[in-house]
Symmetry: C2
Subunit: 200 residues, 2 copies
Amino acid sequence: MNDELLQVLRRAPQERADAARNRSRVLEAADRLFAEGGVAALTVDAVAQEAGVGKGTVFRRFGDKSGLVSALLDQRERELQEAVVFGAPPLGPGAPARERARAFFDAYLTYLADHLDLVGLSETASPGARFRVGAYVFWHRHLALLCADRPDPDHLAHVLLGMAAADLNTELLAQGVGWDRIRAGVASAVDALVDPSCSP
Amino acid sequence: MNDELLQVLRRAPQERADAARNRSRVLEAADRLFAEGGVAALTVDAVAQEAGVGKGTVFRRFGDKSGLVSALLDQRERELQEAVVFGAPPLGPGAPARERARAFFDAYLTYLADHLDLVGLSETASPGARFRVGAYVFWHRHLALLCADRPDPDHLAHVLLGMAAADLNTELLAQGVGWDRIRAGVASAVDALVDPSCSP
DNA sequence: TAGACAAGCGGACTTTGGTCCGCTTATGCT
DNA sequence: AGCATAAGCGGACCAAAGTCCGCTTGTCTA
């Protein structure tokens, strides 16, 4: 009876044991390949072979390459997500919107600097992938809430997140713009775009 | 003698007659294919075949698919570029920075609305292609000049151009956000980010 | 006009993401 | 335990971008 209720509550009703085993096998294989050969070694065929599964299995589990890479990043990103929802201010709730936004971008840029190539892969793998990744939707909601008193928080949140796009920052780095300068520019734009008063 | 001087002045010293002929053949073929079958019909193989040249020739002339599509867009974009440099204010020189920036985005969004899929293709075809297209560099310079009194005009110009990214606006349209709302959001962000006083 | 040489050409080949479909197997029910 | 069934599996197959290299051809000079 209880089990029944629990099962109804879950979105994905169940995942077969072999499916779950393969999921983690694939993720571990991808991690290993990336650790050894960087982003260039992360071809779907190679991951499938290293995991000892068929290529179709990888696509079945993760949808596309972007999904696979996103899953790889998921764990680290989740840490930041929790800090935003449950953590102490200014990252977590309690501080004024502008400060929270600044703290978010500060933390996110640190995360991005550490995983730039993987994030780039996950955002670039297929056109528009960026916006479909779960994390993007999450950050977007977060920022839109912080801008709730603006005329179009939804659009503004997209604009703000544009500053964190991997391809932009990859390009900036390639042009010799360092992370410190990027941070300063982002902070300045956040100040101009996010109202300091609102504090949800 | 004069010819010699002229030849020194050109960047690309010369283009062989057959090369030039093939360039226009390829562009015409691409135009035709796009007119008939939209963006889906624009594969490099198809373009090469339609133009009656080898695939290698297409890549030799245009570098990659992104370059080919950019060349297709070049003509229409050039119109806007000239209006920005030589045209009447507020798009052309003479108006205050903020108004020029607003006028630019207004004009660019019109252009984008008309060619969204082609622009999307040119920006997406290869990762980072967006920033390498000649037009991007041009717009970037333009906006950076308009923000010359800001702490980091270069970075700010990139942020501003992020609002015009094809993939973002494609996503917004897919989410049901119309062009009018996009325009309003962009205008509002421009107002917040571009200093009204500066007028180069 | 002839000859040298760089620029150009073409299409077979490689790489890689993604699809498809017939076979296998875990799971839940009786 | 045995069965029905849907989920899962694998790898052959496809599409499309981009590379390579031996052959061709325009162009410049003598």
